[in-house]
Amino acid sequence: MEEPRIGVYVCHCGTNIAGTVDVEEVAKYAETLPHVVVARHYPYTCSDPGQELIKKDIKELGVNRVVVASCSPRLHEKTFQGVLREAGLNPYLFQMANIREQCSWLHEPGPELTEKAKRMVGAAVNRVSRHVPLEMRAVPIFPATLVVGGGIAGMQAALEIANSNHMVYIVEREPSIGGHMAQFDKTFPTLDCAACILTPRMTEVSRHPFIRILTYSEVVAISGYVGNFKIKIRRKPRYVDEGKCIGCLVCQEKCPWTALSEFNAGTSKRKAIYTPFPQAVPNIPVIDAEHCAYFLKEKCRACEKFCDANAINFEQSELIFELEVGNIIIATGFDTFDASSIPQYGYGRYPNVFTSMEFERLCSPTGPTEGHIILADGRQPESVAIVHCVGSRDKNYNEYCSRVCCMHALKYSHLIKEKTNAAIYQMYIDMRCFGKGYEEFYNRISNEGVNFIRGKVAKVTDEAIAEEEKGKLIVLVEDTLLGTMLRVPVDMVILCIALEPRKDANEVARLFHLGRSADGFFLERHPKLDPVATMSEGILIAGCCQGPKDIPDSVAQASAAAARALAMIARGKIEVPAITAAIDETECSGCRICNLLCPYDAIFFDDEAKVSRINQVMCQGCGVCAAACPSGAITHNYFTVEEITAEIEGVLA
């Protein structure tokens, strides 16, 4: 092999690295290392001119190995490997030193940062001098896509993909698709009814020949890699035969047992056998075993008696099956903040303190009051306080802004005015009406007559100190624009609760190898330039699982994720790293330890030659076999003993 001629490029990353690491000194140090023919520092190495610089050195200085000291290889390893390829070098003659995420960002500023960066660069130089060329492998993309979550984002993504005649599976854990949007009454700022725009979508999804909806189901395991994921799905028993059920819902009518309706945010009861809402898709009920008399006490079976279609099946059990997909779109949505964790707002103590979700249901014609805005005692409210930022923009709960509350608070004002003519007080910190038509909506609602009080509510109490406060809820707030403490007596309080990551976001993140940002939502690959991809190839995110957003933004992100998946499908194949393991047959003792260890059954024993061999197509390159081989006959490409030893010696130098 030719003598290594190494080029080292230390990136400033603006001030992200250069602000705390002396990049010039790191480059100077690199120049002194063996085989290094050139060492440079550059403001943005990933930029076009930065890439050109490397290409130029390869061509003009005969650089044949490259080290870039910049950000995480998870971000730009591919970028720079591409540079090498374009310049005619094998992309594996490259090594990155992650001096941003794992150095300048990770440690307190100080001279030690520069020292550490030098050692990291030294290790990379040492390692890259041992690198050998490897060939990339092209693997086919399985053209089906998995969408996790059947809310508006999931449905949108599914339709976009399915409309190009590629199969989509929607996995939804609830009995129906529709998500949170199905619970809303009207949508801002157009005030069109959510059901009117959502239900046609749901029908379209359910009738689409290229979409298969798997409700009441969850992903339990995933394996494989981009283009070739294997997904294990658990389908919970509905205890209703989907093939037989005709959706007449007589069972629901006859069922004598009840539980709180999740769909109505706990404001009403539903039966133990139920569909969550009248427009549910599929329109097939489920039996909630936790509240069903048969499962609890082994009697009743009323639903079975009344079902003409004989669709009730108490013997049904959960079903586990596997799907093969090339891409995955996560659209698992959000949960809402638990308002009772701010006790001073009285939620749970005063019956006329409602959360925004409860109020949505109160406004809805399909809700518990058939759309009448009434108090717990059935009266119409004469005055309503709408409290913004409950659980949002607050270090004690969630630091972030939930982005939709100002707008739905304005929407509530309109609905209350329309239905009751009550006096309305909005207690806000800042009005954030940033979307298309939103400021105009704010203007319109202002003109309808709303009292805007700038201040974060301190307390909601029923302790009256004046005659006119008796029997009312009194909202205590400073009007920061008047500089005066206000006591606002009202009949009803609506708490605009924060949008939060799903309670099981951590489990889902682990399942799909997703990162989570500080706010707990799933982490996108890049906050500006790549908000739909994740650090896991082939796994995309859309909608509120990535952060609070309104319907238009969720839909836009879902479409973007779908476009990304389609691009992959259209390409048909993807190049995957050539990182596999290989057996040196002359060293192999034929002990077969590796045969059992391989998680992909990629290693087989050649009975004739009495040695083990690795199927290069099946091998995923984990290196478990190489680490276990007692004779050291297995080479883990790109992670060879020589390479890793060189890196170890480098970091300890």
Partner: protein, 139 residues
């Protein structure tokens, strides 16, 4: 000058390396003593590498992998667990303290856990002092 231990960290690509990145992205701060080497899977970390690190001057070795059940390669991390348990028994016989070689599970969204783990091993190895040359040679 107080003793600053040198620690080599072997991190799996899918969970732990991503977790370390996340710690940086979140601007969390930890001790600078751990030098990270990226591996594909913790199951691919040969005991030889750990011994090599100790021999070449490391005062400690940190191994991080996906949490049990989350391995990108199905169950590589279970193999790591068994392997490290065995290795530590061997190191004990060589007179190398338990705390010098630590295995932790750090997931891709576990930025804070990564920082905690780094600070923990750094403090504990600092407490133990440098790995003696005599012990090294036995390695």
């Amino acid at each position: 000058m107080s003793f600053e231990p040198k620690i080599v960290g072997f991190l799996c690509n899918w969970c732990s390396y991503a977790g370390a990145d996340l710690a940086g992205i979140s601007r969390l701060k930890c001790a600078p003593n751990v030098h990270i080497i990226r591996m594909m899977c913790s199951g691919g970390i040969s005991p030889l590498f750990i011994l090599k690190a100790l021999e070449a001057g490391a005062d400690g070795v940190l191994i991080c992998g996906c949490s049990p059940g989350d391995c990108h390669y199905k169950e590589g991390n279970y193999k790591t667990l068994r392997r490290i348990t065995l290795l530590k028994k061997m190191l004990e016989q060589l007179g190398i303290e338990q705390e010098r070689v630590q295995l932790h599970w750090v997931c891709a969204s576990c930025g804070d856990e990564f920082v905690d783990v780094v600070n923990k091993i750094t403090a504990e190895v600092k407490e133990l002092g440098p790995l003696q040359a005599g012990v090294k040679s036995r390695v």
